[in-house]
Amino acid sequence: MVDGQKPIVSVRDLAVAFHQHTGTVRALEAVSLDLYPGRVLGVVGESGCGKSVTARAMLRILDRNGSITAGRVTLDPGTAGEQDVTALPPEGNAIRAIRGGRIGLIFQEPMAALSMQYTVGNQMMEAIRAHRDPGKQAARERAIALLHEVGIPRPETRIDAYPFQLSGGLRQRVGIALALAAEPDVLIADEPTTALDVTTQAQILALLRRLQRDKQIALMLITHDMGVIAQMADDVAVMYLGRIIEYAPVRELFRAPKHPYTRALLRSVPDLDAKPRQRLATIGGAVPQPNARPSGCPFHPRCPEVIPGRCDTMVPAPVPPGQQGASCFLVEDAAA
């Protein structure tokens, strides 16, 4: 979505399947997206839409029963050092250098990223020394500097604290510091503020934005919250049942959403300026179970604008990579 700039990560036609005793579940289909230095891609959708699976596939940390069945994830595409992440052995040194080194990951629950048995400093120093070892003393100083950078008060004493001694907000700051330890140029944040209170969320989002801008990081921000998207994203990918159904710059998406699902989703967000007892627009039904995928367009059973005989039999073409658009027959027809 940026003219002339080269993406640092390119995902093309990515597909992921999970093999279960009940059969194979197609969790991701034809997912394409680009991450640019200094830009934020918001990935938004409801539970089961595949937003976390996309991130996990990009880092090759899918659960054992999951596998990438098609597509490519390319780091530094179009340069001499271009690497196809999907071709790397999932436990080899090459992917380990990328994971944490080039691409940092921030989790929803920072406790998932932190061990209870080690101090904050221990874990940070381990992360710093894993990629470019500057020696023990220098690593400790760097850890303190990082904790300071993410806004932790008195970092020189907090570095010796255990994670359980910190509040949720401070823990997420440590989680961010940890993700930044090896100075990655890409950050993937998977629902980084969902477990936090609203005032803490505002603090953490402001921190992420400042770091992302200062360091020109390519940030992929995964969330279910349209408010967070509006505040943070430059470009947005809206996902539903394993597919990107709309891709657009953030202002375009909020001003003129093209896909019926995006439109419905935006209307169903509670409004701080609502009138008393004001009803919300709803989407009928519920998100189907991934093993009960509808035929045709995955949204057609809930779509108010469904075209019978077409939406329920044929799958609309995916959004062309690198372009704004929606995967919907209505949009295809309007363009034709």
Binding site: G169, T199, L205, A230, A233, P270, A281, T282, A286, V287
Partner: protein, 331 residues
């Protein structure tokens, strides 16, 4: 008339230390909380985690015994009882009048009971005869928008939103005077959350429900509640009608809370701000006003004296020394 009137509700948890389990302090989970709910009204109790909103709700349900204070409840138009000091035995005939809607639609339904039996359970316990029970279950399923066939299915066959409908039907079974809903939509996806919010609004209109709505999401609260009470570290800091509270908050914490909500508008980025610092520890709250270390309007007095909740305009209460300086609260 008021269905519920809470006065000075306090719940302290002792902090014990050492072999003799000596009391060394206490967590003031709720500290002198007062509010009332009128017949047919929905009052939202909002605040961040640890502010004591769930403690208050659990005291009203008498799942907890308050340390002190009054919970004056009217089971019908002619009687009012203080629930706070009552024994389990004395509470039993009153329990049917206050029902709960839970947060987690997965944990709050017995997976081994059929949906019809789950909804009929409160009727059964209260001695409603079989045929009448059956008719009531049909009526309730229709009311919450579930098909009749749901009766003979188990909860696992239903999505989160449908399960929440089952929980709501169960809570309504005995025509309670008061519903306590503890974060009833926060575990749901946005599109499903909107359905349940609309259902609650419909039920308010049709049944004239009185409801205590415990929530942290200010967007949801705006749609559902008539009035709002904001809590911070165990105390109510502001009460007003929903429209007034959102338009003209008169406590700095309410103002900070509203300003921190990420608005679904990419052109409103500058309008979202975060307050400094962290929520105070209820075991060791700051002296004076608990919000003073984070407050942009702090004056010397706030560090020493604790402001009481006082009426600053008809129906609008604030616990802030500077609440009357309206210019302060304008942007």
């Amino acid at each position: 008339m008021n269905v519920l009137e809470v006065r000075g509700l306090t719940k302290h948890y002792p902090i014990v230390a050492g072999l003799m389990r000596r009391e060394v302090g206490c967590v003031r989970a709720a500290d002198g909380v007062s509010f009332s709910i009128e017949r047919g009204e929905t009052l939202a109790l909002v605040g961040e985690s640890g502010c004591g909103k769930t403690t208050v709700a659990r005291c009203i349900l008498r799942a907890l015994r308050p340390t002190s204070g009054e919970i004056r409840f009217s089971p019908d138009d002619d009687h009012t009882v203080d629930l706070a000091p009552l024994s389990r035995r004395a509470l039993r005939p009153l329990r049917r009048h206050i029902q709960l809607i839970f947060q987690d639609p997965y944990a709050s339904l017995n997976p081994r009971m059929m949906v019809g039996d789950i909804i009929a359970e409160p009727l059964l316990v209260n001695g409603v005869p079989g045929p009448e029970r059956d008719a009531r279950v049909r009526e309730l399923l229709d009311l919450v928008g579930l098909p009749l066939v749901a009766r003979s299915r188990f909860p696992h066959a239903f999505s989160g939103g449908q399960r929440q409908r089952i929980g709501i039907a169960r809570a309504l079974a005995l025509n309670p005077r008061l519903i306590v809903a503890d974060e009833p939509v926060s575990a749901l996806d946005v599109s499903v959350q909107a359905q349940i919010i609309n259902l609650l609004l419909d039920l308010q209109d049709r049944l004239g429900l009185s409801m205590l709505f415990v929530a942290h999401d200010l967007g949801v609260v705006r749609h559902v509640s008539d009035r709002v009470a904001v809590m911070y570290v165990g105390r109510v800091v502001e009460v007003a009608t929903t429209t007034v509270l959102y338009a003209t908050p008169r406590h700095p914490y309410t103002r900070a809370l509203l300003a921190a909500v990420p608005k679904a508008d990419p052109d409103a980025r500058d309008a979202v701000t975060a307050p400094r610092g962290e929520v105070a520890d209820p075991a060791n709250p700051p002296p004076g006003c608990a919000f003073h270390p984070r407050c942009p309007f702090v004056i010397d007095r706030c560090r020493v004296d604790r402001p009481e909740l006082v009426e600053i305009a008809p129906g609008h209460l604030s616990a802030c020394f500077r609440a009357s300086e309206t210019a302060l609260f304008m942007e």
